[in-house]
Symmetry: C2
Subunit: 200 residues, 2 copies
């Protein structure tokens, strides 16, 4: 369900998932630190006391939201295509799936990428994000050693630039527009692996 | 002068440029909206009334800071290499220079890239940034029509992904480290134009 639809409803009678969608939207607009339970209640169209019926604290909402983003990313690495076969094919699989999760769970991944690390919940999430990034970096190194990726760029730079390209998608991608998630993934993979120069 | 050096000084006797460097650092850490003249004075180690001796308002500091970022970017497009020769060479020149400005004026460009557009000063800056982006997008289209850039990716997607890659540099690049600005520009250009796959 697109978050816009839910946000506009603005009535009581939510299940936890709807509360979560609205909360993530509010966190992304105001910043997590600047969002109070009062602001959340206002956006949900319920009283400040009624919000505690749905969720014990702001931190619980953050935890649930980050779990949705990180769980999606971590599940990618557990699929057989992520650990069997040639390293460049595994890397391509992981990058495509990362883009798919990012687009499918856009507000959740946006929240994850904007974390400052001010609380334990945020620090734990950043730790898990780093662990994911390290596994992708290991795949890049493996593809390099295998000889399928170019050797003249430091693998750390490659990792930074690849994640920079992919993570920046949250800043501009509009789900439901003319660019499908599948096509977006194709374009990113083509540009990253084959480059923009026309083949001779 | 690196902003760290200036920040640590924490004494009165600043010129406007030093005040500006510290202000930009504070804006980037706390967010422009959340930064009061009181917080700025505290970071400068001077009284709240003394700060007005250096600068009339927070908005003036923002304006000066954004001018430094935008002026650097806009000057790129006025150099002969940006408008003479083959479009792909012009594009490469502009992207290399953009990376150079970004690295050289890192905190200023970071501030520009994080703007929310809540005030007229911010909106004017975002307007100038969009004008710059449009001119680069036009170069991408020209290189595509010239036949030097691949035609199978929508030029709007190419523009978004290229800027995503380059702008993300502000999130991780550490000036003075082992990766020189020149080498960084080489790596970005190689990856963007030739891709990561090893040549057969």
């Amino acid at each position: 369900m697109p978050s816009e639809t839910v946000t506009k409803r603005g009535r009581p009678g939510y299940d936890q998932q709807s509360v979560l969608l609205i909360a993530v939207d509010v966190f992304n607009r105001h910043g997590y630190d600047a969002t109070s339970m009062g602001i959340l209640a206002e956006n949900l169209g319920i009283s400040k006391s009624a919000i505690y019926h749905h969720v014990p604290s702001k931190g619980d909402l953050l935890k649930l939201a980050l779990e949705h983003a990180l769980g999606g990313l971590e599940a990618i690495l557990e699929q057989p295509e992520a650990f069997t076969g040639a390293a460049d094919a595994r890397l391509e699989f992981v990058l495509r799936q990362t883009i798919a999760v990012l687009v499918d769970r856009l507000p959740f991944v946006t929240l994850l990428l904007r974390l400052r690390g001010n609380t334990d919940i945020e620090r734990d999430a950043l730790e898990r994000r780093r662990a994911f990034d390290h596994k992708v970096a290991a795949l890049i190194s493996a593809a390099r050693e295998e000889g399928t990726l170019r050797q003249d760029i430091d693998p750390r730079t490659v990792t930074r630039l690849l994640f920079g390209t992919i993570n920046s998608i949250v800043e501009w991608y509009k789900p439901g527009g003319s660019l499908s998630p599948q096509r977006l993934a194709d374009d990113v993979i083509t540009m990253a692996f084959d480059g923009l120069h026309a083949s001779a």
